[in-house]
Amino acid sequence: MNIALFVAIPLGFAFISILHKKLAPILLIAASLFIIVGLSFVQNGETVIGGFEAPYGIHLLMDSYRLTALYIVNILFLSVVLLNIRKYHQMSTVLLISLTGLNGLIMTGDLFNLFVFLEISGISAYLITSTNKNPLASFQYLVAGTVGSSLYLFGLILLYAMFGSLNLADLSMQVSQLTDKTPVLLPFLLMFLGLGVEVKLLPLNSWVKGILKDANTLSGPMIASVYAAAMSLVFGRILIDLFVFEGRFIVIVSTILLVSILAGEAMAYQSKNVKEILLYSSVAQAGLVVLLFVSGLASWALFMVMANAISKMILFTIIASASEENGDDITVLQGIFTNNKLIGFSFTIASLSVIGLPLFMGFVVKMNALNHLFGEQMFLAIIAILLASVVEGIYFVRLLLHLWTPSETTVTFDIRMKAVLFALAVMLIVFGITVEPIESLKDTIEIGLNVGGTSWRI
């Protein structure tokens, strides 16, 4: 199985799909299924595109990290698609392209190619958010995204000017051989800021509110779960493979991350609308994930992304669906779980997993990450994580108590939604109870990581 197909097939289907409107959703599901099935046949290693070896040509890379990332993104993508395809069938082509973009983004081993895929997935994301019927927010997203990718491009071109290569592995090797690393810090900062826009780190994420505040069942989980997962995984991969942290760069990065985490939690704590609570909470989680990446805990960060993505998928789908008619004020939604025990169950598990409570996947991840951080004595990070957990707990408890309190509200949920979300929730429990799959996966992932960058202590 050539992994270039994971890009080529959805792209080709996208080209075909504009011919026949009825066919498009089928093509979308077919492409998505093809990728998920195909993932079990891939082999690790490089796949050269166009016959030119690195660093001259572009190549796609596959290892356990990327494979896991692809599984996460594609399975969640398929779930979102299955839940929404009937209502948003006109988005099929866009979704096919975004599938192309996300898969390419994860697999590519070339920085400029990454920029191209960043733009592809970015543009499809802008279009996905256009279903919110809030063009102003989508426009703001577009502006922020374009500024971000321009910054990224600027950074990468400076790297090219210095090292004469665009290949990730090649650059990583050359950077690690430098004795004085200060020259590369500016491009790294530019790339950090550029990707930080997409990963929604704090001062750069003004687009998030407009997008997720009005999110529907397609755009909410898509942006908050699938895109967030893909972007942070790609970002994290660059962080561990390439980046070095020194001097002022550390100060700036750690400030951004700590502010993201603490301010994100504080804003979620203060918010009254359920969607706002969730969106600010996902800002904090993004900061947390990046924090783990820069601390060198790549595999645990990967699992945290996975746990968060599943949780956010559940949370956003439920809230977006429930708030379609009456809005998402916390008091309006009171008691929606009274007659929807299964939905309430999924929601509860997802939020408990985000807080990091035992029995759920978030717990396993948080505990192991904390264990490592304590071993490394990175106390600032630890304090941030623990404080964040406390605040998360408080606003989720408030949310849960409100949503569970019996009331006259009657909201009905689609039966398919119930099934899919329940399955995802069960997944959180399964990974929370049986640790072996995660542990063994972690080992293979760490074999595959060639850590060129350096981690540091916050």
Partner: protein
């Protein structure tokens, strides 16, 4: 006040970046770039995968990439995956524009009535521009240009017709099919490379002698595909922007 402050900020930033780059010993100054330290030298020497005895115009046969225009060699051969992505970006934006503005069926009313001279004149010009566009696309591997500028020219010829002919809109439907088919062709070309040589988007045709029209293997084909695709996409963007608001 705010504007002055903003100006000061960006100027300070510009100066700081310049200062930083000047102090940076890895960053070559303007004009001092050392190509031998970069991958690009291999693109010029065409020895990324195999050694050759130097590249000579009109003589070298079957180089790893046969385009006389090195930029084209990079765009459509060495890094043609980027180009596929680029096409995708254009495709999705054109589709997105259609999605965002496509509700209206009526085209925007022009303030003048196209007269006979305009109709005939634009048709004549249309042919010239179209031919130039096609020429630029086909000769992309030899001269500056290629599928994208060519496609843009094709689209501008369409714009001309659009302005001159009220009924033209009805004929725009065909572009969608063209766009789709060309995209599929590109993918199929890539998959054919995968089948034949084992690499996606690998050039599996004979490269010929450097500098001749029928050389550089797939590149002219790719550029024709791109030219037509870009042309139809930009045309459809134009079409949608010229539609009436709302209604």
């Amino acid at each position: 006040m705010k504007k002055v402050l903003a100006l000061v900020f960006v100027l300070v930033l510009g100066a700081l970046i310049m200062n930083h780059l000047n102090d940076n010993n890895l960053f070559a100054g303007f004009g001092d770039a050392m190509l031998e330290n970069r991958v690009s030298q291999s693109y010029i020497d065409r020895d990324a995968t195999e050694n050759n005895d130097g590249v000579v115009f009109d003589e070298s046969l079957d180089l790893e990439s046969g385009a006389a225009n090195t930029v084209t060699a990079i765009v459509a051969d060495y890094r043609s995956f980027d180009t596929l992505g680029e096409v995708t970006v254009l495709f999705i934006s054109s589709f997105g524009v259609a999605l965002l503005l496509g509700q209206s069926k009526k085209r925007i009313a022009l303030e003048f009535k196209p007269n006979f001279m305009l109709k005939i004149g634009s048709r004549a010009l249309f042919a010239v521009i179209l031919m130039t566009g096609v020429f630029v696309s086909i000769h992309g591997h030899l001269t500056p240009g290629g599928g994208f500028p060519g496609g843009a020219m094709i689209a501008s010829s369409m714009l001309l017709l659009y302005l001159a002919d009220d009924e033209f809109r009805a004929k725009m439907r065909g572009f969608k099919i063209l766009e789709s088919v060309m995209g599929v062709f590109y993918i199929i070309l890539g998959l054919a490379g995968l089948m034949i040589t084992g690499f996606f988007l690998e050039n599996f045709l004979d490269n010929g002698a450097l500098g001749t029209l029928f050389s550089a293997g797939m590149i002219p084909i790719v550029y024709i595909i791109i030219g037509l695709k870009v042309g139809s996409e930009i045309s459809s963007v134009i079409d949608h922007f010229l539609s009436e608001e709302g209604a």
